[in-house]
Symmetry: C2
């Protein structure tokens, strides 16, 4: 691993603007180079980075132990410590992840559409990189390799800014990425990292770098996403929250309905694709609610229900209006009885976050209506909301699930980190 030092203590004479502009220029130059590289070269860089991570896992662990010690000293909570912590498995996971990304089909140079015009012009729309991507993330050090890997795969240069608590870990990983990139003969500035001593760097990046950054992807909690969306003068691909619903239509089979809700809620409660609210058709409530509540309680899940639910099952706490708008990210679920499919759709329109919803039903007409009228990034029929994931979609990896409607929606993988251009071939055509 070459000795690529991060400027942790920049010279005072160099202003933040100067440092950020230098970073931006270097990223833009690297992006221009990357745009003309072959898939083979980019995949070689990804595999090289995976090797570097495996070879330097000891250094990465050591850096992580320093981060962990500092975090414990500062009294950070156990959830954050868990996100921050690296071990051999997690480091191997990062290396494997980069190799998986290398195996994906090349997202660049794909012909999205091709047609001929009556005047003989031949038009093609082909994929190209977005350019320079800014990734702002929090305490998970593995985002460093996951996000940079997807950017590299799609020919984009990336500027990383991780959380201060994971800075030593992220820097160690980043050095491995740069070494891998260099081993493939690509420009190391394809992946740059902002020192966390530059406290105002995020603000500067969001507000003053539209010449150098094509899009910012925030990865983290609500606070981060909100800040980015408020301050950004550059385009943002972000997700706000995942307030996911499971709707049990009256035609739902009892066993499947319970299995799906249990999986959607309890498989992992802390991810954005976890279900937060179950809506049950009134016509089937007497059949579905008792079975469902018993299963949830037995699994250790707190159940908050409206009056219609409470009268059908024991152990249900009363739900308030606020519950319909709460992303618990915990072993708590809100259950409500609705009149019919229209009632479920209206509830989701009012309270949903546009992330992922599932309908459990045997009635095909209800499914069609739900699919047509619910406006969320991902709609599922007879499947768990926890499938809302780029890997589960077969996209290999993802940088997040976008809930916005511009550019990318749903899982954001390498293919979503592309733009396109038109290539038009003529034989001397002039416009009349």
């Amino acid at each position: 691993m070459p000795d690529l030092k991060l400027k942790e203590k920049p010279a005072d004479s160099e202003s933040l603007a100067d440092r950020m502009t230098a970073l931006g220029r270097a990223a833009r130059a690297a992006a221009t180079q990357l745009a003309s590289t072959s898939a083979e070269q980019r995949n070689k860089a990804l595999r090289g980075a995976a090797n570097e991570i495996r070879q330097h896992s000891g250094e990465i662990l050591k850096a992580n132990q320093a981060d962990m010690a500092a975090a414990q000293e500062r009294g950070l909570g156990s959830a954050l410590l868990d996100r921050l912590m690296l071990d051999d498995d997690r480091i191997a996971g990062m290396a494997d992840g980069l190799e998986t990304i290398a195996e994906l089909p090349d997202p660049l140079g794909q012909v999205l559409a091709a047609w001929d015009r009556p005047n003989g012009l031949q038009i093609q729309r082909i994929t190209v990189p977005l350019g320079v991507i800014g990734i702002i993330y929090e305490s998970r050090p593995n985002v460093t390799s996951d996000a940079a890997g997807l950017c590299l795969k799609s020919g984009n240069a990336v500027i990383l800014r991780g959380g201060s608590e994971s800075f030593a870990s992220s820097s160690a990983i980043w050095r491995c990425l740069q070494a891998g990139i260099e081993s493939a003969g690509l420009p190391p500035d394809a992946v740059q990292m902002i020192a966390t001593t530059d406290r105002d760097a995020v603000g500067y990046l969001l507000s003053s770098m539209s010449n150098y950054i094509d899009v910012v992807v925030p990865r983290g909690g609500k606070g981060l996403i909100k800040r980015v969306q408020e301050d950004a003068r550059v385009p943002v691909i972000g997700h706000l929250e995942g307030l996911c619903h499971v709707y049990l239509h009256e035609s739902a089979a009892t066993g499947m309905a319970c299995d799906i809700v249990l999986n959607a809620k309890m498989r992992r409660t802390g991810i954005c694709g976890a279900a937060e609210t179950v809506l049950v058709d009134r016509a089937a409530a007497a059949r579905l609610v008792p079975a469902l509540v018993a299963r949830l309680l037995a699994a250790g899940c707190e159940v908050r229900g409206d009056a219609g639910v409470a009268e059908l099952a024991d152990g249900v706490l009363p739900a308030s209006e606020e519950d319909w708008d709460t992303e618990y990210l915990d072993a708590i679920i809100a259950v409500r009885v609705v009149n019919d499919c229209g009632g479920a759709i209206a509830h989701i329109q009012q309270h949903g976050s546009g992330h992922t919803e599932s309908i459990v039903a045997e009635d095909e007409q209800a499914v069609r209506r739900f699919f047509a009228e619910v406006d969320s990034a991902i709609l599922l029929h007879n499947a768990s909301t926890q499938f809302a994931d780029g890997g589960e979609f077969g996209m290999g990896a993802e940088i997040g699930i976008a809930t916005g409607r511009i550019h990318a929606r749903g899982p954001v993988g390498a293919a979503q980190l592309t733009s396109y251009k038109y290539l038009v071939r003529g034989t001397g055509q002039l416009r009349p």
Copy 2:
């Protein structure tokens, strides 16, 4: 035409925020309704609006005469007066334009991709409307019908804000659009217009309506676009400028090279796809430059050249560094001799705006390199840059040419005003 009055003098007690929020809510409700409409209904609304415009052309003309008189009184320039002016032909053009949009294929419900997963999940990605689009434009009243027509076609609600100088004309057109929409049984709030007496409305729309507006499309000069990009807290699809190049490779045929440059510059000098700079390979300069300059001068075009050009032809004014960065939008062209294809690409990278560039060449390898390395929305080979147009691309109509890289790039037609969602069909799958 129903008597749909625009609140030109809102009650003082109603704040701008209240009025804008009401507008936003109404647009969101209309968007929800529009998303479930059939193509037939939306096309019926477009044809209905075209009929209303034809039937009420007298009223539109009268409104336009009032706008024109006020503009002349205020001493506005002839270019602006020409953009503002409507006559029978232009009004017929608006109606025809709406009918052309009605004939286009439905951009909604298109299956962009479909695949199955090993666990049996069937995944589809299908197109859906963006939601609510804000259009901010200047003096051309026909943007009212063109832009609203494309939004309606793609199932989007739209909030229009035209320039104050064209307000009477735009309002008359807008009333026809609403009448057409109502005649098809669709919600008239699908197309709303902001009164120009709400002076701070644009600022409010850009900064405070992210809950109600999914994307803003500015249509107008540099000043407008810049203001929108600086102030927007909502996503923007915009184009900055069209500094288009024609590169004459040494393999270019003399006649075709001259024809293409003449058409690219002089067919219409004021459009964004007009060429502003010609780059000529040094190896062919002695053959190409004299013929080209003679043709340009004969056509009444001012030619500004570097030393290499000036020594090969008479009548060439000296070009300064500034010329390479100037979008003349006039009968002026800058001509420069470059060493080779790499020199042309480097010039375009430094000075281009990412809009449209053309290479004239018989050498296929040069074309491939130019297509691969130049990063603009539209690249042409042996064809005029003035083909940079949604209609010429066969997209029926466009709301502009996007030079950004997010969401849409190049001509923005009805299909580009869509997002997508994932529909996933299962048989009870749980995530392991």
